[in-house]
């Protein structure tokens, strides 16, 4: 069952619907996984789920590689910092902060055209 659900969530990543956030929500709310562990698993999940699509995008030359390079490098550096910060925050507090972030991003996504 977990295998099939993960395939389904992977499909959503490929479709660009809800991306990795949905899988993270599944891990925390349904599977009862600890927040920090779920976040880590979600990252590896996203890397695997987006790999095939990324190859296709590169093959078809769909992306603006200059923008990707700048965003990617800047993002990778700060991502490491963000991850270190997450490791310092209490699990329950992190879960609540994450909840706030989900509400804000969900509202934003809903209102976006």
């Amino acid at each position: 069952m977990d295998f099939l659900l993960t395939v389904l969530f992977g499909g959503f990543v490929g479709l660009g619907v809800g991306s990795g956030g949905l899988y993270l929500i599944y891990l925390t709310l349904i599977n009862g996984t600890a927040q920090l562990t779920a976040q880590g698993m979600n990252l590896y999940f996203f890397l695997a789920a987006s790999a095939g699509g990324a190859i296709m995008h590169l093959w078809h030359r769909r992306a603006d590689l200059g923008a990707v390079a700048v965003l990617g490098v800047a993002g990778a550096v700060s991502a490491a910092g963000g991850a270190l910060l997450a490791g310092c925050i209490d699990g329950e507090l992190l879960r609540h902060i994450f909840g706030v972030f989900m509400v804000i991003s969900g509202i934003f996504a809903l209102l976006r055209k």
Binding site: F3, T6, V7, F9, G10, G11, G14, L15, G16, V17, G18, G20, G21, L22, L24, L29, T37, Q39, G40, M41, N42, L43, F46, L47, A48, S50, A51, G52, A54, H57, R62, A63, D64, G66, A67, V70, L71, G72, V73, A74, G75, A76, V77, S78, A79, A80, G81, G82, A83, L84, L85, G87, H96, I97, F98, G99, M102, I104, S105, L110
Partner: protein, 136 residues
């Protein structure tokens, strides 16, 4: 002649790339802190950065492709730190690699055949509900 609001031209030259550093830092920071979310900011930024007719299907694909490729190094940077911190073990990660890969490839192949607009609205509502649950 001053361009009207509806007319946008793609900015050229090195200068525009500097505009992406701060948003990249923000997106990456969020990605690392929450294990997701970098894509939302990245897509927002790229929607403004990659100008063109709003209804342009090609532009939408370009934004999506650029977002996915940008978030991958962010997620990689985060994932390495999470692994180093011991937040995830290999037995947590290995079982999800194959199904995630299969699902992602299927979704990417179906992308041009499915109208994802309604799906996105449903999942946005689900994300809001989940966020409220997580806050409690």
């Amino acid at each position: 002649m001053k361009k009207s609001r509806g007319e946008k031209t793609e900015r050229k030259g090195r200068g525009r790339l500097y505009h992406l550093i701060a948003p990249g830092l923000l997106a990456g920071g969020i990605n690392g802190l929450f294990g997701c979310g970098g894509g939302i900011i990245t897509m927002l930024v790229l929607s403004r950065y990659l100008s063109g007719d709003r209804g342009d299907k090609e532009r939408t694909r370009r934004i999506f492709a650029s977002t996915v490729l940008s978030v991958i190094p962010m997620s990689l940077g985060s994932a390495i730190v999470y692994g180093t911190l011991g937040a995830v073990e290999s037995e947590d990660v290995l079982p999800l690699i194959l199904p995630a890969l299969l699902g992602g490839m299927a979704g990417a192949l179906l992308l041009s055949r499915i109208n994802t607009g309604l799906l996105k609205k449903i999942f946005s509502a689900l994300v809001i509900w989940s966020g409220i649950r997580l806050m409690m």
